[in-house]
Structures are given as C-alpha cells and as structure tokens.
Symmetry: C2
Subunit: 205 residues, 2 copies
C-alpha cells in the first residue's frame, strides 16, 4: 500500500481507481476485468494487485469512495428530507453511471460478505444517528424507525435511476419540463411522508 | 413430472425455463451459463438453443413470465395502492430470488435494447391505463402522472428487497415483529402519498 509515491505511487493509484470506477459501473464486479482496468490506468495487472488485494477489494474501495462522494454532494438534512431526496435525484440524474456502480454491489455482494467496517454500513449507521437526534429534538416524527426513513427516502429519490428501461418509452424524456416534473413528483412524495420542518433553512445539521 | 411429452417437447421447455430462472437469478445475464442451464434441465445446450434463440432471449422470456406472475400475485388496485404495496413487499419477501431475477435485467439490458413488445413495457402501459381510469373516476388524485405513481409505489414496496446488505446489521431481522414493522412502514408511506379510497373493497378494478 505505501509503495512509492514516485513512478508507481499516488498517481498510479488514482488512475487505477478512476479506471476501476468506469469498469465496475459498466460491467459489474464479476464482469469487470483487471487487465482492462490496468490498461486503462496505463499500468500492469501486477501493480493493480500491489495496490488492491483483489477485484472485490478494489470494488469495495471504489464504491466506498463513491458513497462518501454522494453523501457530501447530497448532505442529508433530517429537517428537510424532501430537499435531500431532490438532491439525490439530481446527483444520479447527472451521474447515472454512479448509480450503476452501487447497484452492482447490491446484487453481487451478499450480506454475508459484508465486513463490519463496510462503508455502506457505517454511513447508514451515522445517518440513522442523525435522524434519531432529529426525532428527539422534535424535527421528525419519532414513530418512524430511522432505517425505514433512510431506505424509503432513498428508494423514492432513485425512482428514475432504477428504471433505465422505462424512461425510453416516454416522449420528450430529455426535455427540461419532463425532467422537472419527475423531480417534483419525487420531492412531493417525500414531503407527504416526511414533511420538511417549517423553519428549515436548508442547512445540514 | 411426466417426463417427455415427445422427447423434445413442452416438458423439456418447462425444465429449461425453471433452470434458467434459477441460473439468471443467481448469476445475472452475462454471468449465466447455458451449459449449466442445460445440465440442470437434463437436456443439451443444443436443445436450449432450439427452444430459445440465445441467452438474452431466454432471459427476456423468463423475466416476462415472472412479471406476469408478480402482477397476478399482487393485483394492482388503483383504489388501494397501500394494500398493493404491501402485497409486492410480501411477494418479494417470500421470493427474494425473483427480485434478483428482475434487477439484473435493469442493470444489464440497456433501454436501447428494449423491444416495443417487451413485457415490462406492456405491463407498465396497461397499469398506467388503469390508473388513468381511476383518476377520471375520482379514485386517485389526477395531479400525479401515472408513471410516477407506479414507479414510486414500486420503489417503496421493494425497499427491503433492494437492500440485502443492510438487513444483516439489524438484530432479530427474522423475527415476526421486525418483519411486520418493515411492512407497516411501507404501507404507511404509500398511504400518506396515495391514500386508499375510503370505500375500497380490496377488489382490483
């Protein structure tokens, strides 16, 4: 891991991560090829294995990093879950390949394989704590289990990211009006379940 | 079963479909192997190709059949979408491998590959018509686009089917109370967005 910062160091590692992100998003974990990743990263298979023990470890690193990127870009605000859902929708509308990247892991990695320090799990636990704090502070209906809140908001927010085959049948699917209407439906649906606090400033807690 | 109707007839075809359903659910389309399907169906690769032109055609047949099975088992009722969501949840809780079967197709088949007579598309168009009729009859808020309704209800209903990696961190995840609470959250979420008509009899339109 420490390897060398010079000819085979941090830059190579970054190129491997970038190439792996594209490869996994396109082909999934089983379908990804380390030799294609190495070639795209202008390095060798051996160097990829020197940085990451194997294909699954590389996937876990890449998807963990992506999870951090989504969380930073969408900033969950327990007092404004509809706004949060809108931001998730925007993020994956702009980066559909990143939704694919995460979706493969849901299908290909069984729960039994998930290590305790898995970033998906850690992010989830952290967000559940934020929601619990908001429930105690009166900003969110305490009857909901925080995990249900997270999963339901995420499911609604990714409604169209999950349906690549459906969108195509709709005319003008790329028009601004069409896209704005899909976004509005998502925000409205979340608003009806988890209404934003009236005084919400839009800032993350 | 009755073995061969004639030696290459309907029973062989049924065995191929059953074997293909299991194979695709486990490995996806790219990962599925026709020789494993043939072996599990006690036939030859050549006979599989005689019944179905190729692996993707076989997947489309199998997933189309599954879609019909889900639709029949869950019976969409535009006047009671919360109840419909609960039935979808029940169906995929009982048959998680069938959710996997469909999820692979969403990832692996691009929208450009989707033929006009694709069963997913046809089912969707049919259900959208049912919802439009309910909107005209006053049973459902006409402000919603029927496709948003279908996708959002489906997303909420499959909240836990989509999260195999999450459930494991929750203690007592197999307890009846735990499962009942997850189901109740789903039904309640849909009820807040698309309230069931008061006089709903539970019958499908």
């Amino acid at each position: 891991m420490t390897a060398t910062r010079d000819s085979t160091g941090a830059d190579t590692r970054e190129r491997i991560v970038a190439a792996a992100t594209a490869e996994f998003a396109r082909y999934g974990i089983a379908g990804a090829r380390i030799d294609r990743i190495a070639k795209a990263a202008k390095t060798s298979k051996e160097r990829v294995y020197a940085h990451f023990r194997g294909k699954e470890q590389l996937y876990r690193f890449v998807s963990g990093r992506e999870l951090t990127a989504v969380a930073e870009a969408t900033r969950m605000d327990p007092a404004d879950l509809p706004g949060y859902a809108g931001r998730i929708h925007d993020y994956f509308t702009t980066h559909p390949e990143r939704h694919r990247l995460m979706a493969w892991g849901q299908l290909e990695l069984g729960p039994d394989d998930t290590p305790d320090d898995d970033p998906v799990r850690q992010t989830l636990v952290h967000k559940a704590e934020q929601l619990r704090a908001a429930q105690k502070a009166g900003g969110l209906d305490p009857d909901w289990d925080p995990l249900d809140v997270l999963v339901i908001v995420n499911q609604i927010a990714t409604s169209w990211a999950n349906q690549p085959g459906l969108a195509v049948e709709i005319p003008q699917q790329d028009s601004a009006d069409y896209l704005a209407a899909r976004r509005a439906a998502i925000v409205s649906a979340v608003q009806r379940i988890f209404p934003a606090a009236e005084a919400s400033s839009g800032d993350a807690l």
